[in-house]
């Protein structure tokens, strides 16, 4: 399909129609020249072209696919959601919230929030966005029958009510300065009031939902009445190919343009064949979990020694082929504005580990470690550590258990094992869910009253520099005392065909934080 040939953003108005390809290049060249003078120069080849059909294959899709934002659970769902709907806010490349359907968000005490809605926004069916839609979209998460995955976050909203047609008042159970980021969570995308049928999407997003067949495919077409920056692509088709090699083959044969979840091992091959690879550093990690309330983990020297056994460079290069960033046993990635660079890097030091093991009375001991494919690459990480353990004078007994049932029967129950955590948008969320004393997934059983106090303090504070300071101290505490060893932050890897332009890494997730459809264009479309 060939859409209107219009170099986006640089062509003078009225020249978009009826020009041939040569004319287009001329116009594009002239446009770039002037744009270059204006200080935002793009090379000629990078001038976005409107139109074209992008075919995307993701790794997972099933009959559980959904257009209901509350139920979204996999990358394919999030990509669809980002095409058809908008949130009140959206997270930018610096992990900061930007206004989307909200025009302004105000608060005095981080507890009572007033959201002013953007005027002139319309749903795909033509009705105007009002406060009632927003109230419905946020409140429905509280109804257990909806099956929302964001219920935990919605539960702190004790009151959500409309003020007139263009303002919404949200009252929280306690102050939380992160609300603008929480509102950008994909589950809080805005649907039209009283929607219960999600067979097609009626959102405000940059694409209209033309077709949705769960487990088969979805098709979106550009919404030319979009309130924000219009998408370049004319049409996006998403489906899934679960088999890794079949997905890569379909890309290489030219049947599709973009795929996600690439095995790092085939990246060089793809690049040699002229395909692009998008590496998105993320905050997701596989972590060593040492219960500090049972077994050897009760001895702090044992915990520290285990962390010292991690040869992070070897793990990065051998297991992830370099597509990971060194982590420092605390969960805030360097891309976060709250990252604390002053926490001393924990070195790989089997000798000191050996000293600490002896000090803990464990010289020559055999340590059972449980791994599973459920915790991504935990087998390989344990094997790399096993080698170092030999130099430190102890033995590892690696017990591989099946992925089925791992999270219910082994995770957080065995003295030494592994977990797997996806990136979370804020330090508050990850600390609350995984590190506070009452956290449901406090993996290592580490409890610290001061940590809990700091968490509440930072949550309610709207002063950014103070929050950075508090979160910085909390990172140091986790690094020093918790039973969690985080060797690496693992990057998401996507691959794309030679015609695809405009992709760039976003924090949080691959495929531009699932929002590729709004940014990508096809060369020669």
């Amino acid at each position: 399909m060939i859409g209107t040939l219009a170099p986006h953003g640089v062509a003078p108005d009225g020249m978009a129609h009826g020009i041939d390809r040569r004319g287009l290049l001329r116009v594009a060249g002239a446009g770039v020249l002037s744009a270059g003078l204006a200080g935002c120069g793009l090379p000629v080849a990078r001038t976005p072209i409107k139109g074209g059909r992008l075919r995307v294959a993701t790794a997972t899709s099933s009959t559980a696919d959904t257009l209901d934002p509350a139920k979204q659970g996999i990358a394919t769902d999030y990509c669809r959601g980002a095409m058809f709907y908008d949130g009140l806010t959206v997270i930018d490349e610096h992990s900061r919230p930007q206004m989307a359907l909200a025009e302004a968000i105000e608060t005095r005490d981080a507890r009572e929030w007033t959201i002013k809605l953007r005027p002139g926004v319309r749903f795909h069916d033509g009705t105007a966005l009002t406060a009632r839609d927003v109230v419905y979209s946020l409140r429905r998460h509280l109804d257990p029958a909806v099956g929302s995955k964001a219920r935990v976050f919605a539960q702190q909203m004790t009151e959500v009510r409309a003020i007139g047609t263009d303002q919404v008042r949200i009252t929280l159970s306690g102050p939380n300065a992160d609300l603008p980021i929480i509102l950008a969570i994909p589950h809080f995308l805005i649907v039209r009031a009283d929607t219960t049928d999600f067979r097609l999407a009626n959102g405000t997003g940059p694409f209209r939902c033309r077709e949705f067949d769960p487990g088969i495919r979805s098709v979106g077409v550009r919404n030319d009445d979009y309130w924000g920056t219009h998408a370049h692509l004319g049409e996006v088709e998403i489906f899934s190919i679960a088999d890794d090699s079949a997905r890569v083959n379909a890309l290489m044969s030219g049947d599709i343009d973009l795929i996600n979840e690439i095995n790092p091992r085939i990246i060089n091959q793809l690049k040699r064949a002229g395909f692009g690879v998008l590496e998105s550093p993320s905050g997701g990690y596989t972590d060593l979990v040492i219960r500090v309330d049972q077994g050897h983990g009760r001895h702090p020297d044992f915990v520290t020694a285990m962390k010292l056994l991690m040869n992070r460079e070897t793990m990065r290069d051998a297991i992830f082929r370099g597509y990971a960033k060194i982590a420092n046993d605390q969960p805030i990635p360097p891309s976060s504005p709250y990252f604390n660079p002053t926490v001393p890097k924990r070195p790989f030091d089997p000798e000191r580990a050996g000293f600490l093991f002896r000090k803990a009375g464990l010289a020559g001991a055999t340590i059972p470690i449980v791994t599973s494919t459920a915790a991504n690459k935990s087998d390989d990480i344990a094997v790399v550590m096993q080698d170092a353990a030999r130099h430190a004078g102890i033995k590892f007994d690696i017990r591989r258990v099946p992925a089925d049932g791992y999270w219910t029967s082994s995770w957080m129950k065995v003295p030494v094992g592994f977990g797997n955590v996806n990136a979370r948008p804020t330090p508050d969320i990850i600390f609350t869910q995984f590190f506070s004393s009452t956290a449901p997934w406090n993996e290592s059983g580490w409890k610290d009253a001061r940590f809990d106090r700091l968490l509440l303090l930072a949550r309610g504070d709207t002063d950014e520099s103070r929050r950075r300071q508090i979160y910085g101290e909390m990172q140091q505490m986790v690094h020093d005392h918790s039973g969690i060893g985080i060797p690496l932050f693992v990057s998401s890897l996507d691959a794309y065909g030679p015609k695809v332009r405009g992709l760039r890494p976003m924090p949080g997730a691959g495929l531009m934080g699932y929002r590729f459809a709004s940014h990508v264009w096809l060369d020669g479309a």
Binding site: A145, S148, A246
Partner: protein, 320 residues
């Protein structure tokens, strides 16, 4: 009692037992589904399953009803021609299955169209020339192909014909099919991959059945009477081998409907096998049961047809 009445009663008996088998299968599938553990509400909520959220979602899906009641509801619905709605998508199950069943039948039909003539020809020729070079080549080739898993054949075929040569598409999307030529292009690779395995099986069983007939005493007698070789095979040996051949064909084809999950995944072909896998993974029990019924029904239809063909083709019956 005339022969035709006897045959009719025999066939009616086969059909009745097939229907009863279907009922037993539905019971077995339901019983096994209870052993699987977990339900659709847990599958949907995943990590965010709290007891309160689970209870709410279960009530909205009627999963709080006792199991026998859910089974009876489904069975009664099915007898009225309505298999109910999917727990996960909320859509009518009939509407979810119909297009995918059509896709699966198209793929199976095309594969049968390619593989049955090839298999019968090669199988009969190998039997006639048994012990010769041709027979040995066919034997080794079929053993070789049958030992290679489908996913390997399919992946290698994609690498050669789609990735390297760019002759054929790597995916089988029916979306862009508007001519017979496109249809052939789209189906070439999956049909080839599937045909490899089914043809090999059918050749071996056809050869065995024809060999059996060719070594029987009445063929020996016909040969001594001076019947020419062509008539000997087609007129004397083959009619007796039709029963076993029909069985072999039915067994090979029955695997084409539900047993092609690998091919459906590799070529992104939306058939019923993937629907079944999705349904099990999300514990969508009404969907699992209905698809299981379709698999069993198609298997029984094929096997019963083969039985009936064997009965009708039996020369002893004809001459009674």
């Amino acid at each position: 009692m005339t022969a035709s009445l006897w045959v009719t009663r025999l066939i009616a008996g086969r059909i009745a037992s097939a229907v009863f088998t279907l009922f037993l299968v539905s019971l077995a599938v339901f019983a096994v589904s209870l052993l699987m553990g977990g339900d659709a509400a847990e599958a949907i909520l995943g990590q965010s399953a709290t007891p309160e959220a689970l209870a709410g979602l279960r009530a909205s899906m009627h999963l709080d009803q006792p199991a026998p009641q859910r089974y009876l509801g489904w069975l009664i619905g099915l007898l009225h021609g309505d298999p109910g709605t999917s727990l996960v998508t909320g859509r009518p199950i009939g509407g979810m299955i119909a297009p995918r069943l059509a896709n699966s039948l198209l793929l199976a039909g095309l594969t049968a169209l390619v593989s049955v003539p090839v298999a019968l020809t090669l199988g009969i020729l190998a039997a006639v020339k048994r012990g010769g070079t041709f027979d040995r080549v066919v034997g080794i080739a079929t053993i070789g192909i049958v030992s290679v898993p489908e996913f390997l054949i399919a992946t290698v075929a994609v690498l050669i014909f789609a990735v390297t040569l760019h002759w054929l598409p790597a995916l089988s999307s029916l979306r862009d099919v508007d001519s017979i030529y496109e249809l052939l292009r789209v189906f070439a690779l999956p049909v080839m991959s599937l045909a490899c395995v089914t043809v090999a099986q059918m050749i071996r069983m056809t050869r065995a059945a024809v060999c059996d007939a060719l070594t029987s005493s009445y063929v020996e007698a016909a040969r001594l009477k001076g019947v020419p070789p062509r008539r000997l095979v087609l007129g004397h040996a083959l009619p007796n081998a039709i029963g076993p051949i029909a069985n072999a064909v039915a067994l090979s084809l029955s695997a084409l409907l539900g047993g092609v999950i690998v091919i459906e995944v590799i070529f992104n072909y939306p058939g019923v096998a993937r629907l079944m896998v999705d349904a099990v993974a999300t514990r969508d029990m009404p969907l699992v049961q209905t698809v299981a019924m379709i698999f069993s029904a198609s298997y029984l239809v094929l096997v019963t047809t083969a039985d009936i063909v064997a009965i009708l083709a039996n020369p002893r019956l004809r001459h009674q």
